[in-house]
């Protein structure tokens, strides 16, 4: 997981349009798996400045996605199956929950959706 997230952060650096879209994003985003493992993506000016592996009770976060590794792998397929093609799809089919400040996510939704989908290109 750590390597995938690091690949995602590196891919973001190669996407000028995403850096422009996310230039005001300063949030910390939590990714938590159902086995208890957690990663915090610390965004600064639209870049993932730091990936912090949890679990941590001391790290504040703005919003988070709670899911399972199998669902993430299906999400990161180049052509995902129905329901696995979008983070809200994962939530709709019961394979993820979006927690915290959902409105903060929605206000910058295109940016976050495209960043979270970057491993599709990296892994292909």
């Amino acid at each position: 997981m750590q390597d995938i997230l690091e690949g995602m952060a590196a891919a973001l650096e190669r996407r000028p349009h995403l850096l422009r879209l996310g230039r005001l994003v300063q949030d910390t985003v939590l990714i938590r798996l159902d086995d208890g493992r957690e990663w915090f993506l610390h965004y600064r000016d639209g870049r993932i400045a730091h990936i912090e592996e949890g679990p941590s009770r001391k790290t504040p976060w703005r919003f988070g996605i709670v899911t399972d590794r199998e669902a993430l792998d299906a999400f990161w397929q180049q052509t995902p199956k129905p329901g696995f093609h979008d983070i809200f799809g994962l939530a709709k089919i019961g394979r993820a929950r979006i927690e915290g400040d959902v409105l903060a996510l929605v206000k910058t939704l295109r940016f976050h959706k495209e960043v979270l989908a970057l491993p599709r290109g990296v892994r292909s």
């Binding site: 129905p82 093609h85 979008d86 983070i87 799809g89 709709k92 206000k107 939704l109 295109r110």
Partner: protein
């Protein structure tokens, strides 16, 4: 020297008398033959249908008509809009569609509507079947509750169009060609302030079709439902449940399509629309 290679779409403006007063609407048409009236989705406009209106083969036997609902596309909101909250209602939507038909002189057209246009198609199948030759209800069901907060899309501190487009992208299939995916989202980004929310108020809160699907008489006008497998809003389960409750209705699941089939993947949608039109014969 040849002239400009215009597309076959003709766009005109027409003022239509609705129960709420006159509305100046933008209307596009192409083709010849049976009249087919096309309804766009919430938060969008007739551009969603442009590929169908430019389809040379479909236009040989079908005269397509598509109009921007008031507040949408090139149809302006009514005077005084700046102090009004736009909220679409079933009654207002039906009245507008019938007023457009009267103004155009359309006699029993086929009605093809997507999303909220599919929902109102089912309402018209229930309430006014004799005004139509048949109904193609796309991404349509009797009702499903919102999986989002419609108030997200009309806020002073955020861009409603950007949020709406990013949210509805959840309903676009990964098989959609990139240019068509983004053209579809561009329409939502251009939606007027509060318009998507006002449409969704109708789509996610009016459950007046629930329990009445069995009263739709498909011997008076046929009903065919199309649904994309990647549609999170009106899922194949929603559409198939709806079709099963309408005696004589049929339903086709489109495996590689989502909630905006005519604009997100026009070439993949075309055979399903052609099949649906053939069923209306």
């Amino acid at each position: 020297m040849t002239g400009p290679a215009f597309e076959p779409i003709h766009g005109r403006y027409l003022t239509v008398d609705t129960a709420e007063g006159p509305r100046r609407l933008h209307i596009e048409t192409a083709g010849q033959g049976r009249d087919v009236l096309l309804l766009h989705t919430a938060g969008a406009d007739t551009r969603q249908w442009r590929h169908v209106l430019c389809d040379e083969d479909l236009c040989k036997d079908n005269c397509f008509w598509a109009f921007d609902m008031p507040w949408h596309g090139k149809s302006l909101p009514p005077d005084g809009w700046q102090e009004r909250e736009y909220l679409l209602t079933t009654e207002g939507y039906i009245d507008t569609i019938l007023a457009v038909m009267d103004a155009l002189g359309l006699d029993r057209p086929i009605l093809a509507g997507c999303s909220m246009g599919g929902r109102i198609a089912l309402q018209l199948a229930l309430r006014h079947p004799d005004r139509f030759a048949g109904f193609i209800a796309i991404e349509a069901s009797d009702f499903q509750p919102a999986w989002y907060d419609i108030d997200w899309f009309d806020r002073p501190d955020a861009h409603g169009g950007q949020m709406g487009a990013a949210l509805v992208s959840a309903n676009i299939s990964p098989h959609a060609p990139e240019p068509d995916r983004w053209a579809t989202q561009w329409g939502f980004m251009q939606s007027g302030p509060g318009v998507f929310r006002g449409d969704l108020s109708f789509y996610t809160r009016d459950d007046s079709l629930v329990g009445k699907l069995g009263e739709i008489d498909t011997t008076r006008a046929r009903v065919h439902i199309l649904v994309g497998a990647y549609d999170l809003t009106c899922t194949p389960d929603d559409a198939e449940r709806t079709a099963a409750a309408i005696p004589g209705a049929t339903c086709t699941v489109m495996p590689e399509l989502g909630h905006f089939p005519m604009s997100e993947h026009p070439t993949a949608f075309r055979p399903y629309l052609a099949d649906a039109l053939a069923r209306m014969a």
